[in-house]
């Protein structure tokens, strides 16, 4: 909109639904040291204290509209978004305005929210998968913003006060920093009117802060064994740094990873699951934020198979790195990635998500529009070069969640060249 908010709209009248909300081009990486979890708390408190209303009234209004409204807080962006029945769209936008423009930030509600968040942290102890992710990212991105918590810790949450939350709100929710995005059964005039009214009530602010420095992978092979009693199964994550879509070798590595562990017939799934039955899932993936994120391999074999599975994964990684992929594999992976792109954009809400991703993850303009062509351009040489130039066999982060007394020594023995070996109790915060 000229002289107005940045607004994305995907019209779709097939269902009487509207999806959307506001996304900031900044996130938890901006949380001050010692106040980690602040941005997430801020967004949740805004929702609960719209226009100084009691939270019960806000919740009842959302339910009455036939709406959902939640917060997605990441390192590089924060989104307040949801869905609403088309007939309640105007009510939804009125509430949205109250949340964004005049949050109440009641102190007692903040304290309640902090207690709820502490309970969430306790609940995480039940999930071996989340424990593995926590320690993998913490270890791989040690010292970097991406290794820091989005949700906070008991120590940092207790330090956060209402004034911190107000400052966080003023920093993130500004005209320069927000993107409005809507998809569904709503016309442009209505969306523009409502978005502009909210946008004009926000302070001008400044443009989004630059992304954090490019992360650097820790040197050597580093094992973190997260020790949890009585595990019949282990969670294993192995990986290092991947690429960002702005890197020249991003698409080549994406194609190479598809061959290695990106689909059900990829090498990893075939060897670990189909041939040996060792793990229900066996995948590798590439993540990104505003900077490079992780390349990771994920399996969860039974405890007795953990060491053998770890050894096999390292062997397969080495083979992939040293010998690359074949021309036949390249062709199949390119066809798969190009054809399946249809499902990334088969609804208005998904198309909107791609547009928003381009903006909030600092993707090259037109990244998704050119996606199929970019995949088509990848050569075998580029794919195999990307594996070697971007990934390292020497610098690997390895995380195992399991019972150390039962399998710790066996796992350590199958990792050649281990530079660092650490055992942490699973309830270490």
């Amino acid at each position: 909109m000229s002289g107005g908010p940045l607004l994305l709209l995907e019209r779709d009248d097939s269902l009487p639904l509207v999806h959307g909300g506001v996304c900031t081009r900044s996130g938890a990486t901006d949380d001050p040291e010692g106040l980690l979890g602040l941005t997430r708390l801020c967004g949740r408190l805004m929702r609960r204290t719209a226009a100084g209303l009691p939270v019960e009234e806000v919740d009842a209004r959302i339910d009455r509209m036939g709406a959902s409204l939640g917060l997605d807080s990441g390192h590089g962006s924060t989104a307040l978004s949801g869905s609403v029945l088309e007939r309640s769209y105007d009510d939804f936008m009125r509430l949205f305005e109250q949340i964004l423009v005049s949050p109440g930030f009641a102190e007692d509600e903040l304290e309640r929210l902090k207690r709820e968040t502490l309970a969430e942290l306790t609940e995480i102890l039940d999930s071996d998968q989340q424990l593995a992710q926590r320690w993998f990212l913490r270890s791989l991105f040690a010292g970097h913003a991406y290794g820091r918590t989005v949700i906070g810790s008991s120590k940092t949450l207790s330090a956060i006060g209402v004034d911190d939350v107000r400052r966080c709100y003023q920093r993130h929710f500004t005209r320069q920093n927000v993107v409005f995005s809507f998809a569904g059964a709503v016309d442009r005039d209505r969306v523009e009117r409502a978005s502009r009214a909210i946008w004009e009530a926000l302070p001008p602010g400044v443009a989004a802060a630059p992304p954090p420095a490019e992360p650097v992978a820790p040197k050597g092979r580093r094992l973190v064994f997260v020790d949890k009693p009585e595990r019949t199964q282990t969670q294993i994550l192995i990986g290092g740094l991947g690429t960002h879509p702005s890197d020249d070798d991003h698409f080549p590595l994406l194609v190479a990873n598809t061959v290695f562990g990106g689909t059900f017939t990829a090498r990893l799934t075939q060897e670990v699951r189909a041939k040996r039955g060792w793990s229900y899932g066996a995948y590798s993936s590439l993540g990104y934020d505003r900077r490079r994120q992780a390349f990771s391999m994920w399996t969860f074999p039974k405890a007795e198979d953990a060491a053998a599975c770890m050894a096999l994964e390292l062997e397969m990684l080495t083979e992939w790195w040293q010998r690359g992929i074949s021309a036949e594999e390249l062709g199949w992976a390119k066809r798969y990635l190009a054809q399946s792109q249809a499902f990334s954009c088969d609804t208005a809400a998904k198309r909107l998500g791609l547009e928003l991703d381009e903006l909030t993850s600092d993707l090259p303009k037109g990244h998704y529009a050119r996606f199929v062509a970019s995949i088509g351009d990848v050569t075998l040489e580029q794919a195999n070069r990307a594996i070697q130039s971007r990934l390292s066999l020497d610098d690997l982060t390895l995380v195992v969640v399991g019972t150390h007394a039962a399998i710790g020594d066996d796992v350590r023995r199958v990792i050649p060249g281990l530079a660092d070996d650490r055992v942490v109790p699973f309830d270490t915060e």
Binding site: I62, D63, R138, R335, A342
Partner: protein, 480 residues
């Protein structure tokens, strides 16, 4: 039969006549009916001479097709000692066929850009493929191939058993909630096959051999026990002709009736306390609930929303917000062919016992009768149900899943919209009636989970200078 008879209104007569010309009886199609699916789409129902049911929705919003195959067989069709065979078999369906080497089925789907998955539950087994429209014909050939030409050999069966046992460790053995739910159902039911888990008991999974799998395949995987749901960017003639070519040579089989077991009325509360490695107490309660086709199911689902649905629901408000006793409160009403369970799950805050949670839950359920539910509470609950149904229809996959589910469980593919229409007639007094009828303490099952002593005080964790990142990763599909 909610789909109106098509004979008088069908515009498919000439097409069907044309497609059937020169075909044997098994391949001949008939247009059985049609029904409005929401405001803009229409379901067409066909049947092939061999008994194969076909539900088709022409939808050109995206250049994709959802191709779903539902079999009327789930874990309810199993017997003690052979539990989990329906689910194991679902896994095996992605293996070798007479015309495809092991791995080729998935490889060819991926070549086409397709996404495939499968799931098994108590009443059914469901295979779903999402495909760019250009690959439609090949997907039909692949699905038809495995319906009738699967090859079962010992190495594949043994390997897949290992996979399923690992799936069980993931979902049950090392998962507190999974283990708890399994215990609840196996305690609440005494006779009905719903008492054993769909994934099966570990000892049963271990014992399966090729013969078990072949027997299961021959018994249940026949065209007259399947429904195909096709939704997407394809024209009817293209769909019907291809289905005739691919499935028309398959012969029907005698399908055993599902076991007709009437669960005896539970007289007296069943209560168990178990100990698990978990940081806080957990509470799981199961009340016997009506089948999906019962008139009480809809008001009970509205009551479930009033009590547990949104943030403004009664139990969330009291347990999470006002008293701060719980970190998580949920309920689900099973949508099954036979009576199931209304299941409540509560996770306690630190220092709070399951008994304390139960006391509050009981008080709130009593309050349904003593302090009537308001019109506004019903309005909020029905709006949430409407939102949930519509959100599930956003793409061809969602539409096909909704159609297939209601068809297989109720024999009515538009039942979702019919339930939506009926919501407006649900009154607060209806909720009181179903609360009195089903939420009875004397016929419920209660499981209390005590945290093991070495996890009872997670409030004092080992300190660490770093802090933990919380991110999301790609999750697993339901199965396969």
């Amino acid at each position: 039969m909610p789909i109106q008879n098509a004979l008088s209104t069908s515009s498919f007569g000439p097409l069907i006549e044309h497609l059937n010309q020169g075909r044997p009886e098994l391949q001949k199609l008939s247009h059985v009916g049609q029904a409005q699916f929401g405001p803009k789409l229409q379901i067409e129902r066909f049947r092939m001479g061999n008994g194969l049911s076909i539900l088709f929705v022409e939808e050109h919003a995206a250049p994709t097709v959802a191709y779903h195959t539902w079999f009327r067989v789930g874990s309810r069709n199993e017997r003690p000692g052979k539990t989990g065979i329906a689910h194991l078999f679902e896994h095996l369906m992605f293996n070798e066929t007479e015309g495809l080497a092991a791995g080729e089925f998935d490889r060819q789907l991926e070549e086409l850009g397709a996404e495939s998955n499968a799931s098994t539950w108590l009443d059914w087994t469901h295979y779903d493929i999402a495909i760019p429209a250009a690959g439609f014909e090949r997907v039909v050939e692949l699905e038809a191939e495995r319906m009738n030409h699967l090859v079962l050999r010992t190495p594949q069966v043994e390997s897949e058993k290992e996979v399923v046992m690992n799936e069980r460790r993931y979902r049950v053995e090392d998962d507190v909630e999974g283990a708890l739910s399994e215990l609840l159902w196996s305690t609440a039911f005494e006779l009905h096959p719903y008492r054993w888990p769909t994934i099966g008991w570990m000892s049963d999974i271990e014992s399966f051999d090729v013969d078990d799998c072949q027997t299961f395949y021959r018994t249940f995987y026949a065209p007259n026990n399947a429904t195909l749901v096709v939704v997407g960017d394809v024209e009817p003639e293209r769909v019907l002709r291809k289905l005739q070519d691919a499935y028309g040579s398959y012969t029907p089989a005698p399908i055993p009736e599902p076991p007709s077991v009437r669960e005896p009325e539970q007289r007296g509360e069943k209560r168990l306390e178990v100990t698990k490695l978990t940081p806080t107490w957990k509470l799981n309660i199961g009340y016997h609930s009506p089948a999906l086709n019962h008139a009480d199911h809809l008001p009970l689902s509205v009551l479930s929303e009033v009590l547990f649905g949104g943030r403004s629901s009664r139990l969330l408000k009291v347990l999470v917000r006002e008293l701060e006793l719980a970190s998580d409160v949920r309920a689900s009403l099973s949508p099954l062919a036979d009576p199931g369970l209304f299941e409540i799950f509560v996770s306690a805050r630190e220092g709070v016992s399951a008994e304390q949670l139960l006391e509050v839950v009981d008080a709130e359920l009593d309050r349904v009768l003593s302090e009537p539910i308001t019109d506004d509470e019903v309005r909020r609950a029905t709006a949430r149900i409407e939102l949930s149904l519509l959100q599930g229809l956003s793409n061809n996959e969602g539409k096909a899943s909704t159609i297939g589910f209601y068809e297989v469980v109720l024999g009515n593919p538009i039942a979702g919209f019919e339930r939506l229409s009926a919501l407006s007639s649900v009154r607060p007094e209806d909720l009181a009636v179903v609360a009195r009828r089903y939420l009875k303490r004397e016929s419920r099952t209660v499981i209390l989970v005590r945290p093991q002593s070495d996890m009872e005080e997670p409030g004092a964790p080992v300190d660490d200078d770093d802090d933990e990142p919380i991110t999301t990763r790609r999750g697993l599909g339901v199965s396969a």
